[in-house]
Structure formats: structure tokens, C-alpha cells
Amino acid sequence: MTSLPQAVGRSPVRRLAGTLHRRPRLRLSLLLTAPLLWLAVLYLGSLAVLFVSAFWTTNSFTSEVVKVWSTDNFHQLLTTPVYRQVILRSVGVALAVTLLCAVIAFPVAFYTARIARPERRPLLVVAILTPLWASYLVKVYAWRLILSQGGLADWALKPLGLSGPGYGLVAAIIALTYLWLPYMILPIHTALEQLPANLLDASADLGARAGRTFRSVVLPMVLPSVAAGSVFTFSLSLGDYITVQIVGGKTQLIGNVVYSNIELNLPMAAALGTVPVVVIVVYLLAMRRTGALSSL
């Protein structure tokens, strides 16, 4: 115990460091208190408040929240055709955006990760990321102009005898796909980059053609990353309501219905708000099976 006298002579900071070093549990609890408080109080707490307030009602005239326990809101949510329709539509849009993102992102990521010259790859990744630097609203309004009557989309499709989709569900899916595409490209790019080249060579040596190699070697190894990307695209699309307002024409998604209820019928808005939470939890649990969450 020769070190003890030395420790006594050290500054308080050093002593504290020593104490923390000897007591790993104290160290851990000090480190985790703040983030855990944040998680439990601010995040889970607000989710809990949201869920509880969904069981309250409002005074129909003054629209004040009446704290009377009732399952009316959930009953309405499940029995009113328009809510069911909106929920299904929202999930449909989120799935469509995710699928489109995956289909577009795969070839792009394959190019940036394996075909492009290695020294150009970082530049390409930066290029993929640049749209994220621009404001969300600017990008969506740009799509509003592109898809407007006689706009860029109409003009480009005219030689083919077609016209643009106009504002509506299709426009919303296109704009959302554009917005969230980088979140899908990046994980796939990373996965493809880490794909060992010798596996591809081995596959070729064993006589597999490109298609077979893709199906049996590339796809299984990249699939978890696609699933990871889909967590972003799916949840971001499910929660979006501004894009739909700008290019969606009269389309309503969950977010819009929550927004239109929030002032006058807060409990109903809360009940509607729990729907995406439930959908995303189910989606995350499903994705966990693919191992996607460990490759985020």
C-alpha cells in the first residue's frame, strides 16, 4: 500500500477520480442518471401522458378537456370508417415510400459502394447527403412546383403522351420518397462496402452467375441494412403531415387528422396519436427479427 500516502496529497479532483475508479457502480449510476431521467421523464413520460389523455373527453361547446375516464375515443377510432381509412392509407403510404426507397436506393448504393472508383466514393456519399442540408419546406415546395399543372413533370411527360400525377396521394408518395431516400441509401451503402470481395469471387468460382450471386450472397448480407433503412423511411413517412398538406391535394393522413383535432378535441387527437406509436412499435419488433436494429 505504498500508493496510499500519495493519494492523500492529491487534489480533490484526483481523489474524486480515484473514488469513481474504485466504485464502478457509482460511476455507472452517475453517468446514466441524466440520460435515463431524460428518457423516462421527458420521452416515456410524455408518451404516457399522451396515452392517458386519450381516455379523457371534451365539453362539446367550450372544447375544454373534461377529465372523465372513457374509452369513447378508441371506440370511435375503431368504428368510424373515416379513421380506419385514414390509418390504412397512412400505413400504405409509409410502406409504399419504404418500398420505393429500397428499390431506388439499392442500385445507387451499389454504384457508390462497389462500382465507383474508391477515391470518388466519399464525394458521392457527400452528394447523397447534400439534399439533407436544404430546408424540408423548400424541398417540398419545389415538388409542389414540379408537380403543378404545366410544371416540370407535365412538361417532361408530354412527349410520351402522359401528364404528371397532379397533387394527390401519388404526389405525396413521390415527395416523401425523395425526402427520405438518403436515409435508405446510407445503410445499404455501408453494408455493400463491407461486403468481402472474396465472397463474390468464391461465388463466381463456384459457377454462379451475377443473378445467382446477388440472390444467394449479396441480398442476404445486405437485407438487415435495408431493414434498418426502412425503419427510418417508414417511421418518418408515417409521422409526416406537412408534405401531404403541400402536395397531397385533399389527402388526409394520420398526422393531418391529429392536427385538425388538436385544438378542439385534444383527447381524440391523443387517441389518434397513439396509432402511429403502436404501428411503429410493431414494425420495430418485426424488424428486430431481421437483425436490422443491430446494424443501425
Binding site: 374509452t71 369513447d72 399543372q149 388526409q252 385544438e263 410493431v282
Partner: protein, 398 residues
């Protein structure tokens, strides 16, 4: 048995759904208060000003030069009265109602779809118009309206008014429409290019059209609809929805849609019509033969106002001829003060906005708050309250 997390979650969801589905279906029998406002007294005389006043207003109503240095009618007020103005811009009538309930604000520029709610809940106090010298010059059409008074007692000071017009693209819509049928029964002629105001209060527009198109429904007041009349209006709007390209609530969105031709016919406000025409679109806006709905804003004072004297000073200031002209021109609405027209920078402004044309306003049904007690005086039926309008509006959009 060890449940996997997935199964546990699924079980939890299933239990929740079961509990909900079996839950009671009707507990929301919140009694309607009707229109029996709490007995509040209006202030009898003005005291010393309190040094500040907290206002809730529509964007563009309380301008102190911070948005545009040339647009400033607050600084002079502060100098003259010593009342520091703190303003909060509200985006919707519902938000205004909510903010007023906090009791932290002294006055609000409430539209008709908010004012009755504020009166009935006792959040707005009656106003002693004798303490507002400029009130005597307010247009008679704005005094003691159904949306700003109860039994002849004013609950606020009128600020200005506007009609919801029918706007159409003169190149793409011919012959020129004369009736609201252009957006209702004949809307299919412009399928996908019809637009409408995105708010539950728009149901009143359909009711106004049905009032003349289907007289057998006996609609007297588009804001007092019994269940049968309401259902007819909702059915009409659902039919219209198939032809609507998009609904607008943001006026910039409507301008861009009319400019590009995505919308060719639909409701609008005078100021939007002017801006759209200024940007080169070939549009025209007018009041169709059935008349139209409209809005009239009223400065109301909170029953819990901490700075009532400053609030009274503000109400007088905002309708003083010069300021009323300024704010009306900036916002694009007809001023409330009959003497304001002499002060507008554009001399034809009052004509464009029909400020002095009382016969024009006779055809305008100003926004009001639908309540269970029918506003048109019927006592044998219950009318559909606003909360149901909100629900129906979600269903109309689908």
C-alpha cells in the same frame, strides 16, 4: 410459458383493443351551455392605464414595425397611452379560444366562429361602448350582430369584415359562373380543379347554397342546422369532395394553385383575389347570387383582464379612423370605422372592399359558432353543435 417480447406486445395491444371495443359508447353527454352567458358587468368608467396590455390577434392586426418598418400602428399607441403592447399571433379561432382560457391575455381579435364560445364560457366580458369614443362611427351593419352581442349587449368592438367570395379563372371557366352551384352541383365540370376553404366552418357555405337550391330543407341560418339540414350539407360536400383538387387554409397555397391552374374555381377572400390578379393570373372574384358567408372580427376583452384600461384604450385606438384604415389596407379587409375610408392610401380601397356598401353586406352571413340551441330561434329542434361540424369535416375530406 415464456412470452417473447413480440408476443407480449401483441397481447397488450389485443387486450387494449378488446377493452376499447367493449367500452361504453356514450358517456360524452356534456351538457350544452346554450347561450346564457354568465352575468358579467361591463366596466362603467376608465381608470388609470396599467402600463401594458397583452393581446391575441390574427397575423397582421398588431404591427409594431418589426415585420415591416413601414407598417407600424403600435408605437404611436404606446407613446400616447403609455401602454406597452405584448401581442401573440394565433393561427386559428380554436387557438384563440384556448389562449383566452389561460387568463393571461387582456383582449383578442376574435372571429365569429370563436366569439360566441368566448361569450358563453364567460371568458369574454361585455363591453361598455360608451368608453370607446370611436365606436359611434362603426358601420351599423357591424353593431349588435348575432356573433358579437347577446340581447343587445355588445361583447366587443368590431374591427373589420370580409366576404368569402367565389373566385374563378376567367380563361378556363366559361360561361362565367353566377351561382355557388359552380362549386357544388356543377363542380364536375372542373373535376380535380375545384378548391374550398379547409375548415369545418365551410359546411356553412354548403348550407347557404342549399338554402336557395333546396328550399324544402327550410334552412334559415347556415349556422343553425338541425340534423336533417346538416346531413344534407355534409352529403353535398362529400359529393363536392370528389371534384376538389385541394382544400386551402394557407392563402399562399391558394394563390399558387390559381396561378398554375391547379385550381380554377373556388372560395376565396378579397385580398387573395387581389394578390392573385396582381401576380398575373386571370381571375375574378364576386359574391354569387345566393349571397355568401363571411367573417367579421371583433376585439373582445377578457373577463379576467389584468390590464382592462389599456385594453379599452387599444380597442378605441385600433378602430380610430387612421389606424383602422392602415390595418384594413394591410390585411385586406373592409374597415369597421366609417371614417376610415378617408385615410386609406389607395383611394379606391373602400370601393374594392365594399366597405360602405351596406346592401352588399346584407347578403353576407357572417361566421358564427353553431351551438345546440338553434341560433335562428327554433326551439322545437336541436341544432348540430360545432364539435360535430369538426368531426364531419374530417369525414368529408375522407
Amino acid at each position: 410459458m415464456r412470452l417473447t417480447p413480440t408476443l407480449k406486445a401483441a397481447a397488450a395491444v389485443a387486450v387494449l383493443l378488446a377493452a376499447t371495443a367493449c367500452g361504453s359508447s356514450d358517456t360524452g353527454s356534456s351538457a350544452s351551455t346554450g347561450l346564457n352567458p354568465p352575468d358579467l358587468k361591463a366596466q362603467s368608467k376608465l381608470g388609470k392605464t396599467e402600463g401594458q396590455v397583452n393581446l391575441i390577434a390574427w397575423a397582421g392586426y398588431v404591427e409594431d414595425g418589426s415585420n415591416d418598418p413601414k407598417v407600424d400602428w403600435v408605437s404611436d399607441f404606446e407613446k400616447q397611452t403609455g401602454c406597452q403592447v405584448n401581442s401573440k399571433v394565433a393561427a386559428s379561432s380554436d387557438e384563440m379560444v384556448k389562449l383566452m382560457k389561460t387568463g393571461q391575455y387582456d383582449a383578442v381579435s376574435a372571429s365569429g366562429d370563436a366569439s360566441l364560445r368566448l361569450i358563453a364560457s364567460g371568458d369574454a366580458a361585455p363591453v361598455n361602448t360608451a368608453l370607446v369614443p370611436n365606436y359611434k362611427n362603426v358601420f351599423s351593419g357591424l353593431k349588435k350582430g348575432a356573433w358579437n352581442s347577446v340581447d343587445g349587449q355588445m361583447y366587443g368592438i368590431p374591427h373589420g369584415r370580409g366576404a368569402n367570395l367565389l373566385m374563378y379563372n376567367t380563361e378556363k371557366v366559361s360561361p362565367a359562373p353566377t351561382s355557388w352551384s359552380a362549386v357544388f352541383d356543377d363542380a364536375s365540370a372542373h373535376k380535380g380543379h375545384v378548391t374550398a376553404y379547409d375548415s369545418p366552418i365551410y359546411i356553412a357555405d354548403a348550407a347557404l347554397y342549399l338554402k336557395s337550391a333546396r328550399p324544402e330543407l327550410k334552412i334559415k341560418d347556415p349556422y343553425a342546422l338541425d340534423q336533417k339540414q346538416f346531413d344534407a350539407a355534409v352529403a353535398l360536400l362529400k359529393k363536392q369532395s370528389a371534384n376538389v383538387g385541394e382544400y386551402w387554409s394557407d392563402y399562399l397555397k391558394e394563390i399558387s394553385a390559381f396561378k398554375s391552374g391547379d385550381s380554377v374555381v373556388g372560395t376565396t377572400w378579397q385580398v387573395i383575389a387581389n394578390l392573385t390578379a396582381d401576380e398575373g393570373a386571370k381571375v375574378k372574384a364576386f359574391v354569387p347570387e345566393e349571397g355568401s358567408t363571411g367573417w367579421s372580427d371583433t376585439w373582445m376583452i377578457s373577463a379576467k383582464a389584468k390590464h382592462p384600461n389599456c385594453a379599452y384604450k387599444w380597442m378605441d385606438w385600433i378602430i380610430s379612423p387612421k389606424v383602422n384604415a392602415q390595418v384594413a389596407e394591410y390585411f385586406g379587409e373592409a374597415p369597421a370605422n366609417s371614417e376610415a375610408c378617408a385615410y386609406t392610401s389607395d383611394k379606391s380601397f373602400c370601393d374594392t372592399f365594399h366597405a360602405t356598401d351596406e346592401s352588399y353586406w346584407k347578403n353576407v352571413a357572417f361566421w358564427n359558432t353553431p351551438i345546440e340551441q338553434c341560433l335562428d330561434g327554433r326551439t322545437d329542434v336541436k341544432c348540430v353543435p360545432y364539435a360535430k361540424w369538426v368531426q364531419a369535416w374530417t369525414e368529408i375530406k375522407g
